[in-house]
C-alpha cells in the first residue's frame, strides 16, 4: 500500500505537469494569433494572383506550346507528394491524421501501379513515413516556420525544389497534402493537386471573394502563354506558402486544444488523488486513535 508521502509526491508531479501543459496552451494561443494574422496578411496577394490568372486564362488558347505546368507532361505515371506536417509533436492528432491520409494516397497510387516520390516538410512527416516509405522520400525540409513565423523565402525553398524536379522531368503529377485550417477546433487533412495546375480549383478556392470578370479585352505583355509561364511558378509558390501558413496555424490550434484537454485532465487527476490522499490520511489518524483508546482500555 502506498504511503502518504507517495501520494503527496504524485500530486506534486501531476501539478507540475499541469503547469507545463497550461503554459504550453497559452504559448500556443499567442502563436496561433500570430499565425492567423499572418495568414490574413497574405490573402490580398493570393487573391490578386488568382484574379490575374483568371484573366490570363480567359485570354489564352491552350496549345502544345502552353506551359507544361498547365497542360502537364502528357503522362500520369510518376507522382510527387509534398507532405506538410509540423516539426514538433504534442499537438493531438494533427500529424497522425495527416500522415494517415498520406499513407492512403501513397497506397492508392502504388496499387494503381504508379511511381511515387515524397517530399516531406516537417520532422514529423519524415519520422512517421520513414519506416514504410523511407526509400521514396527524396527530400525533407525541417525548421520551416521555426521562428514562429513562416517566411515566403522559406516556402520558396520548397517551391524551387518542386520546380527543379519538374523541369528535370522527374515527375508528372504533384500533389500537396496538408492540414487545411478550417477553424480553431478543426483542421482537415487535405490532398490538392498542384501540378499540372487546374485553373478552376484556384478560382473556386477564392470563391467567397469571387472577382468580377470584366468583359473588356485584356492586353498582355509579354504575350499570353509567356506570361502564363511566368505566373504559374509564382502561383505555385503562393499555393505552397498558403498551405504552409495553414499548416502552421493549424498546428498551434491543434496544440492549444490538446493542451487544454491535458490541463483539464491533470486538474481532474489532482482532485482524484487529493481525495484518495485525504482518505488515507484520515484512515491513518483513525487507526492511531483506535490504538490509543484500546491501549488505554487495556490498562
Amino acid at each position: 500500500m502506498p504511503s502518504l508521502k507517495d501520494y503527496r509526491d504524485r500530486i506534486a508531479s501531476v501539478k507540475s505537469t499541469k503547469k507545463i501543459t497550461s503554459a504550453m496552451k497559452m504559448v500556443a494561443a499567442s502563436k496561433l494569433k500570430k499565425a492567423q494574422s499572418q495568414a490574413e496578411a497574405s490573402q490580398p496577394y493570393a487573391r490578386a494572383m488568382a484574379e490575374m490568372l483568371e484573366r490570363v486564362a480567359a485570354g489564352v488558347t491552350i496549345t502544345d506550346a502552353s506551359p507544361k505546368l498547365l497542360i502537364g507532361t502528357g503522362s500520369e505515371q510518376r507522382h510527387l507528394l509534398v507532405v506538410v506536417t509540423s516539426d514538433r509533436g504534442l499537438c493531438g492528432g494533427f500529424n497522425g491524421n495527416l500522415v494517415r491520409l498520406a499513407r492512403i494516397e501513397i497506397n492508392r497510387l502504388l496499387s494503381e501501379g504508379k511511381e511515387v516520390q515524397i517530399i516531406t516538410v516537417g520532422r514529423k512527416a519524415r519520422d512517421l513515413l520513414k519506416r514504410e516509405h523511407g526509400s521514396k522520400i527524396i527530400k525533407n525540409f525541417t525548421g520551416i516556420g521555426g521562428s514562429s513565423r513562416v517566411s515566403f523565402a522559406e516556402a520558396n525553398q520548397v517551391t524551387e525544389m518542386v520546380l527543379d524536379q519538374f523541369e528535370a522531368g522527374n515527375f508528372d503529377v504533384c500533389s500537396l497534402i496538408y492540414n487545411n485550417f478550417k477553424s480553431v477546433m478543426t483542421q482537415e487533412p487535405k490532398a490538392q493537386q498542384i501540378i499540372p495546375f487546374s485553373l478552376t480549383d484556384t478560382i473556386r478556392a477564392n470563391d467567397n471573394d469571387a472577382p468580377e470578370v470584366l468583359a473588356s479585352p485584356y492586353a498582355f505583355e509579354p504575350e499570353e502563354n509567356e506570361i502564363l509561364g511566368l505566373l504559374l511558378p509564382k502561383n505555385l509558390g503562393v499555393q505552397l506558402f498558403r498551405a504552409l501558413l495553414d499548416s502552421a496555424a493549424g498546428e498551434q490550434a491543434a496544440r492549444m486544444t490538446a493542451m487544454d484537454n491535458a490541463t483539464r485532465n491533470a486538474g481532474e487527476k489532482i482532485d482524484g488523488l487529493t481525495l484518495v490522499y485525504n482518505r488515507a490520511r484520515q484512515a491513518a489518524i483513525t487507526k492511531e486513535l483506535i490504538e490509543i483508546i484500546s491501549g488505554a482500555e487495556a490498562v
Binding site: 496578411a41 496577394y45 490578386a48 485584356y218 492586353a219 506558402f241
Partner: protein, 143 residues
C-alpha cells in the same frame, strides 16, 4: 474615356506576405518587362510582368512621386484599378547606396568562392537584385 485628367484610380501594391500600399493615385509609372509604362485612370486593361526597378506613384497631379523599389512581379491594370504583385518591395529612401555596394562586393567574393552550382545560382540571383537596387539609386548602370 474620360477627359478629366485629374481623375484618380485605386492603386494597390501587395507582396506575398502583406499588403504594402493601397491608396488612390493619379499616375503610376511601372517598369514593365517590355518597357516602362505609365498608368492613369481609364487605362486600357493590361497584364504585364515587371522587371526589377522603381515604381513611381503620384497621388495627385503636381505632387512629387513616391518611389518604391520592387524586385520584379506582375501588374494588373484595368480602367479603375491597378494592382502590382511584387516579389519584394521597399521604399527607395530606405535603400542605402553604401550598404548595397558593400552587399554587392561581398556577394561577388562569395560567388567567386562558391563551390556547388545551387549556391552559385542563388548568389547570382542575389547579385542581380543588388545591382538592380544600385541602378535604381544612382540612376545609372552598375558595372
Amino acid at each position: 474615356m474620360s477627359e478629366n485628367t485629374s481623375q484618380q484610380f485605386n492603386f494597390e501594391l501587395v507582396s506575398s506576405e502583406e499588403k504594402l500600399v493601397s491608396e488612390p493615385a493619379w499616375q503610376v509609372t511601372i517598369p514593365g518587362e517590355e518597357g516602362t509604362f505609365g498608368v492613369r485612370a481609364g487605362h486600357s486593361s493590361l497584364v504585364s510582368s515587371i522587371r526589377p526597378g522603381i515604381v513611381e506613384i503620384v497621388s495627385a497631379q503636381g505632387n512629387t512621386p513616391s518611389k518604391i523599389f520592387i524586385a520584379g512581379g506582375f501588374a494588373d491594370v484595368t480602367a479603375t484599378n491597378c494592382t502590382i504583385l511584387a516579389e519584394e518591395a521597399m521604399k527607395l529612401e530606405d535603400l542605402d547606396q553604401g550598404d548595397i555596394e558593400q552587399e554587392i562586393s561581398s556577394l561577388s567574393s562569395n560567388l567567386d568562392n562558391a563551390k556547388d552550382d545551387v549556391e552559385k545560382i542563388r548568389l547570382t540571383r542575389q547579385l542581380t537584385l543588388a545591382k538592380a537596387k544600385l541602378t535604381a539609386i544612382t540612376g545609372q548602370l552598375a558595372a
